[in-house]
Amino acid sequence: MRVLESVELEQKFQDKIDKEIKIEPNDWMPDAYRKTLIRQMSQHAHSEVVGMLPEANWITRAPNLRRKAVLLAKVQDEAGHGLYLYSATETLGADREATIDDLHSGKAKYSSIFNYPAVSWADIGAIGWLVDGAAIMNQVALCRCSYGPYARAMVKICKEESFHQRQGYELLTTLANGSPEQKQLAQEALNRFWWPALMMFGPNDDESPNSAQSMKWKIKRLSNDELRQNFIDATVPQAELIGLKVPDPNLKWNEETGHYDFSPINWDEFWQVVGGNGPCNKQRVDARRKAKENGLWVREAAMAFAEKRASRKSA
């Protein structure tokens, strides 16, 4: 009887998904759907928050006030993105602080790209253009995700992201049009971030065992390889336009497929970084852990103050 019931519920659930009806927080959903979303959404939230670190590093060294204001605004947006996503994760019954503790203990991951350092000012341009560009490619597809709160958060995030990519491209364009040294800085930044940006879409489709279920549930709409190809097709002409060279000797336009061909990705490097051996993994998680520990007294003081104010009001 019970088994039958859950089979029926699952069928109903899948029918809704197939009919493009969004799933909302208190609706019945399979446990595995809930778990998959909690994992994906909290890791997405962690990525937004950890993603602030490499860029925040350059705020005080921005070359002028305009660039500084822009970078501040961008980093502040990323904090907001983290908040939208943690809130959306909470609608699934997840404990927000527990998901954050999972990040700090190493149990939860975040986008591996943020384990690379931003070693020059040009890297800030490459991050906006390529890293935010790749994130947008991914997030635009997620705007149609079957889970309502996630999809809505993505719509808001995508609206905010478009300036992130533009400011990065503008920054690199300025460098690329500058002195030979500046142009070289821009080229080196592209060399550093090109391959890690392509890895952001995750393993090749045949190495991505959970993708099929996510596609069936319409959490995922496009496969890793499709998204990666779309990103390459969109980005290569942008590099050419500002006179930068994409660091791939095999990159070439394929008339037949209507896409760029490119070299195989170094997945060893990807798995090394995912596994904790990237240049900055430890530094990033340490920074987040310290932020939580050092902020504890602030959170407690705010609560004590709120209680005091409330009791004064009622007295």
Partner: protein, 95 residues
């Protein structure tokens, strides 16, 4: 684990004069003053609002979505509540 987690608040924003407040999301804050300030900082960075309401999530009550079909059934079956249910002579104006 923090023992003293701030309560959750739902955020509603009026985007411009003449429109109603609309739910935009939620956040955690120690009290209503902080909830309002944080809502302004995260949900209205691009002139999305001119007025904000915050309500502690605990105080929001909702019907059970599992029973939604039966719960809303009375309104689905009363098609005579809609003007299109009625036949009107052709040529009749202003009705």
């Amino acid at each position: 684990m923090s023992t003293n987690e701030w309560p959750l608040w739902e955020v509603f924003i009026r985007s411009k004069q003449g429109l109603n407040h609309k739910h935009v999301g939620s956040l955690r804050a120690a009290d209503s003053t902080m909830a309002l300030d944080n809502a302004r900082d995260v949900y209205t960075r691009r002139s999305e609002g001119i007025s904000i309401w915050v309500v502690e999530s605990n105080y929001v009550h909702a019907n059970d979505p599992a029973d939604a079909d039966a719960y809303f059934e009375p309104s689905d079956t009363k098609i005579f509540r809609h003007p299109t249910f009625y036949e009107v002579h052709e040529g009749i104006k202003h009705m």
